[in-house]
Amino acid sequence: MPLSFLFAVLLLLSIVGYQLGRNRAVATVDGKISRLHSVPSYYGFYVALWAGLPAFLITILWLVLQGSIVDALVMNSLPAAMTNVSAQELTLLRADVQNLAAGVGASRTPDPSMLNAAAYYLELRSIARWAMTGLAVVIALLALSAARTRIKPALRARNQVERTVNVFLILCSLVAIMTTIGIVMSLLFEALRFFGRVSLFDFLTGLQWSPQTAMRSDQTGAVGAFGAVPLFLGTMLIAVIAMLVAVPVGLMSAIYMSEYAPLRVRSTVKPLLEILAGIPTVVYGFFAALTMAPFIRDVGLALGLSVSSESALAAGLVMGIMIIPFVSSLADDVINAVPQSLRDGSYGLGATKSETIRQVILPAALPGVVGGVLLGFSRAIGETMIVVMAAGLSANLTINPLQAVTTVTVQIASLIKGDQEFDSPKTLSVFGLGLVLFFVTLCLNLVALRVVQKYREKYD
């Protein structure tokens, strides 16, 4: 029985519970609703919550625990000779049994005991599924009838329902915190495993990046090098090129839009610029790889320069285009927040418009502009698709924008594709890179948000 069916049944029971509770509450006071503590619908919600919530929570708990319990039972059913091996082989054995059960080929020729175990596994799973469904429905029914019998005119149904809803609201607001904790924990946990094999110092200062470790230990070049400096440099190079495009263009267009443009121009151009922010990054990547990169290579050839077909310049320019709207909309906001009195004062002293902008408005708006630029920079560092599609994979230690460089995000995306075992340094290095990426962008964001916020308070 699929899980969605169980949830549908629970939902149905809740709806039934709502009706039952509401009707019973009205019946207990013979229709004189004013004698009830709460509005009748609250009695309905009270029963509905009791019918749905406990059963739902039990189901979730069951689903979380089921996997490991079934695994343990199945492994115990195998002969001791097979299970008496290293932890790694045990994992392999478990995966084989599960694959056999799922009808996919295992990594070894299955012997009878494994086939038995696979059958046992399937049996246990179907038992567990049925037991879970039965348990959930029984609990839902019991809780429903218990809650229904507790309905009396004096029952403070509203308070109880509202307390439950309040807990739900608090839990939802915690999801964001949980997400951050989840990100930090998962990155930290796997990164620590990585730094157990490759020293942190080597990772942060090494100049050689070649994570392709050999499959067998007797192959040549078996030792991968995990010095991430070329990646950091490549990331910086592309991000700096992007900011060289985005900051002047974004800032100047923001200035023009907020100070010069007539309302009609502003109301057409602003949405058009926002389209740039709405285009998916994979489209920018396609543009960078198939239009910008060949164009730059052709221009380079015409000028007699040798340009790599995956040059940092192409990826950086297109990334700059992507970031223009971020810079311009944030700069637009802060420029508009500068009080009119400052402009009037400057005009009164005889300054022209551009002099006012350059010498009064921009200095006043500077913290906000800097915040916007920092946010744009953090976005450039974390941007993935453009560089995956347009920048190279080879980790060159160079600041020549015409050559191919690779970035942190490119390496993350290219090393983790497909199924790979989770204990090779090659895979784990991704989490080390992810950790660095997360902390650098975190610091940039925190500083930028603080700067922007501080500045806003000043003129409010």
């Binding site: 809803v165 939802c172 607001s173 023009y256 610029l273 998916p280 489209v283 551009s354 974390g382």
Partner: protein
């Protein structure tokens, strides 16, 4: 500057040549500055135009392709020599050979081994699919002649569209001179003609450009968006309601707030790593599934929705709340009966914008294995699936020329979806916008 002395004070002489020159320079600087602004906007907008233009120019040809319509003999010797007519034989028969035979028949003078191979190469490797369906549906047709339409080989199609040059060289070119001549003969007979490329919309991904379509990716995207919507809207709205209406102002809620603002700026690929480590490795959820993709995207869009919902709630004037409280509503009733309905259009607008953002997202989905080849339309949220942007990414990496235009076409379709969603959001904002 020349100064004059008037009434014992030094003042500027506004009529002096020096001063006029300086003023002129200042006005010129003024104009220059304005032109910089116009130039900046022109650069940004022309980049937008070039980007969209290059995609459209590369991709519009993908909406039609070249078909070859032939009458072929369903030779029993080729399809079912034993005459058993059982479904396995019929399914696995070499229909490509039937198609080839039909083409050879059209050019009886071509007999050389090499020439015949060149001739056969003009047919797509998937050209026999239709024929197979026809025979499977009606095995009694074996031995008769049927007329079928099939896509022509992708290289020939690209050659017709002018994307591959005519090459006369030996080996180097992908379309030989001889093939060009045959093609001319075929199109004069009306055998080769242009047709709407329905395969682009009705097929799933394929290694052959001529039969590759986006149906699987579109369904995958819909399933993923469904999961994202079901998770992010209730959680996001509830979190916004709590923070805006109920939460006490203290250090803890400040932390939540900073945290939400910060999550909105975390690189998307980091969310992918979270999904990989937590949902795939720790919780053991299925790889490549819309379920996991949807959850990851929901966590990613959550900050956007919370921020939008909070500003929508903030826009509801306090007088509404006070009036409701005054007539005896509980705080929760105030929110559910009055504030939320009034804030709903704003929340909806924010949700649609968040969904559009999630629909175009690629990087985190690469991390959770949605990049794997999927040859079926996904039937549920736990089936392996791909999504539209990932499909674009995968096609963009294919070397065949035929995939370039299909990538562009897929981009156009994705952009059309996004424009549609944003148009709805703007419509909602315009329609329900309320000034208090």
């Amino acid at each position: 500057m020349t100064n004059v002395i008037a009434n014992g004070r030094i003042v500027a002489d506004y009529r002096s040549a020096n001063y006029t020159k300086q003023l002129k320079a200042r006005y010129q600087a003024e104009r220059r500055f304005m032109y910089y602004g116009i130039a900046a906007i022109a650069v940004a907008l022309s980049m937008l135009a070039i980007l969209v233009g290059s995609v459209v120019l590369k991709g519009y040809t993908a909406f039609y392709d070249t078909e070859i319509t032939m009458t072929v003999m369903l030779d029993p010797q080729l399809i079912d020599p034993a005459g058993t007519r059982d479904s396995w034989t019929l399914r696995s028969a070499d229909y490509q050979a039937v198609m080839r035979a039909g083409l050879y028949e059209r050019f009886p003078t071509v007999t050389g081994r090499d020439e015949r191979r060149q001739l056969a190469a003009m047919l797509s490797p998937v050209s026999a699919e239709d024929l197979q369906h026809i025979v499977l549906a009606n095995p009694s047709l074996i031995g008769t002649k049927v007329t079928v339409s099939a896509p022509i080989a992708s290289d020939i199609d690209q050659y017709i569209k002018g994307n591959i040059p005519h090459t006369t060289g030996e080996g180097g070119g992908r379309v030989s001179e001889q093939q060009g001549k045959w093609l001319e003969a075929l199109s004069q007979d009306g055998v080769v003609h242009r047709a709407f490329n329905w395969r682009l919309f009705a097929n799933v991904d394929s290694q052959q450009p001529e039969s590759a379509g986006i149906l699987g990716a579109v369904v995958g995207s819909l399933l993923t968006m469904m999961v994202t919507l079901c998770m992010s809207v209730p959680i996001g709205t509830a979190a916004a309601v709590y923070l805006e209406e109920f939460a006490p102002k203290n250090r803890w809620t400040d932390l939540i707030e900073v945290n939400i603002n910060n999550l909105a700026a975390v690189p998307s690929i980091v969310f992918g790593l979270l999904g990989l480590a937590v949902f795939l490795n720790f919780l053991g959820l299925p790889r490549s599934a819309p379920l996991v993709g949807g959850i990851v995207l929901a966590l990613m869009t959550l900050p956007i929705i919370i921020i939008a919902a909070r500003s929508a709630l903030k826009a509801v004037p306090p007088s509404i709340r006070e009036a409701a409280l005054g007539i005896g509503a509980s705080p929760l009733q105030v929110v559910t009966h009055h504030v939320l309905p009034l804030a709903a259009p704003g929340i909806m607008t924010g949700t649609i914008i968040g969904m559009a953002h999630a629909l175009g997202e690629t990087a985190p989905l690469l991390m959770i294995g949605m990049v794997a080849f999927v040859g079926d339309v996904p039937g549920g949220v736990t089936d392996p699936a791909s999504v539209l942007p990932v499909q674009i990414y995968k096609w963009a990496a294919q070397p065949e020329r035929g995939f370039v235009e299909r990538t562009s076409a897929a981009i156009m379709i994705l952009l059309a979806f996004l424009v549609f969603m944003n148009a709805i959001a703007i419509y909602f904002r315009k329609k329900f916008e309320r000034r208090w």
